[in-house]
Symmetry: C2
Subunit: 257 residues, 2 copies
């Protein structure tokens, strides 16, 4: 089973939701059969590259006072800590996350996506030093086990993995996601938001129990088989409905008599 | 979209079917959005480690003469060559493929699965030297871009990635596969056998066109939200049907007032 999680590194509920989902996964009896994949989603593709303090951003966005914005941030911090997550209670900042998403796709190709994702969340939500400070992403990449020079090349080339990020975003949109975190199980079942752990448990169970035999495409009569098959060599496939040649436990499609 | 292909390295129709599928994929307008994953399937989990010539194996399995078995092998070679694939017309051998599958899972973790899979097929179907010769797998791993010492450790430990191989096989069985190659598109549509390229094109189109909004799990009334939410901070989620906290284009779940 595969669980795809659309998130943005700037999204605190993604940080929290990931922890809640992981708690459900730890308890799930079939966890060894579950593969988790990060998918990119930018909450604000037009955000500037320069990091800005988060509390004034919240205040401006909702037209509320700094004090209320600060209270909202503290409530999120409470939720994070309730999940056992470290959370920087003051001084958190935000900026454009496109490069982070590009780097996560690069990391996926090298089997280091999970490590990098955790490092990015930690850097953004739990560490004093800004995740958006110059050179920080390259450092985090190395810390996650990626080759430094290669990671620097990816970061320096704005086109590298850009298409992969945009494709993830288009897919999220096609599947009905309007916000993140957005969890999709085997492309058949979705969970929107940082739901409680029990909800993720229910989703994992529902997706697991509804795994079914996949319908086969209807195949026409002409298999395009090489005409040498006419020379007495019966293709020996198992079923008239399926002219594709297969190898099964009893051998491959070969003459049978 | 994700296409999972269950195959065995000992399966000539998998080698041919992969080429036919890849031809369809090359022509598919949305090919950039298609991710291809190899899945393990052992045709004969009890096959010995020592390689044996393939023509006598075919003859014994079907109770046919060596000459007929040889003709069957030549017909497969004709099909392979028709797809532009090199095929060793004499002297091909076969043995247990479990270690190959374990190594393919290790390669996947390092972003080198495609390279290793192609190298394994080439070694088994197109090269004079046996793919099962001592030390050959370690060499092929390095050729595919994997780190030699790490690959050697995986090969020396029979438990390494063994569970991943068995899990793939259990999944194939659960989805109704009885032979390989077995292609599954987004866990929603299957193609069994080395079908003609046009069939793969039709399957890709059908799966693409039927991508849908995923249904969301029904979420109960109790979100398990931290009780600090009662202190005047409205969670501000978008919908009563979804108590999970989200971040959307308009910001995260924070007090709105």
């Amino acid at each position: 089973m595969r669980v795809e999680i659309w998130s943005d590194i700037n999204c605190p509920w993604c940080y929290i939701g990931k922890a809640r989902f992981e708690r459900a996964l730890e308890r799930f009896p079939h966890r060894e059969a579950v593969q988790v994949v990060h998918r990119s989603f930018e909450l604000d593709p037009r955000a500037p590259q320069e990091a800005r303090p988060v509390v004034p951003l919240i205040a401006a966005k909702y037209g509320i006072g700094l004090e209320q914005a600060e209270a909202a941030e503290q409530r999120i911090a409470d939720n994070a800590e309730a999940e056992g997550l470290a959370y920087l209670r003051s001084g958190r900042d935000a900026a454009n996350s496109f490069d982070m998403h590009r780097l996560l796709h690069f990391a996926a190709e090298h089997g280091r996506q999970t490590e990098l994702l955790d490092a990015l969340y930690r850097a953004n939500f739990a560490e004093e030093r800004s995740a958006f400070a110059p050179g920080r992403l390259a450092e985090l990449a190395v810390g996650a086990g990626l080759e430094g020079a290669e990671a620097a090349r990816v970061l320096a080339d704005p086109d590298a993995y850009a298409e992969a990020v945009r494709e993830d975003e288009a897919t999220a949109s096609a599947m009905g996601a309007t916000g993140v975190p957005f969890f999709v199980l085997d492309r058949r079942l979705g969970v929107s938001g940082a739901q409680p752990t029990d909800t993720f448990t229910a989703a994992l169970e529902q997706a697991w129990d509804s795994r079914t035999v996949v319908p086969l495409v209807a195949v026409g009569g002409d298999s395009g088989r090489d005409s040498s098959a006419d020379s007495g060599a019966d293709p020996g496939t198992d079923s008239g409905a399926n002219p594709g040649e297969v190898c099964g436990p009893d051998g491959c499609a070969v003459p049978r008599h």
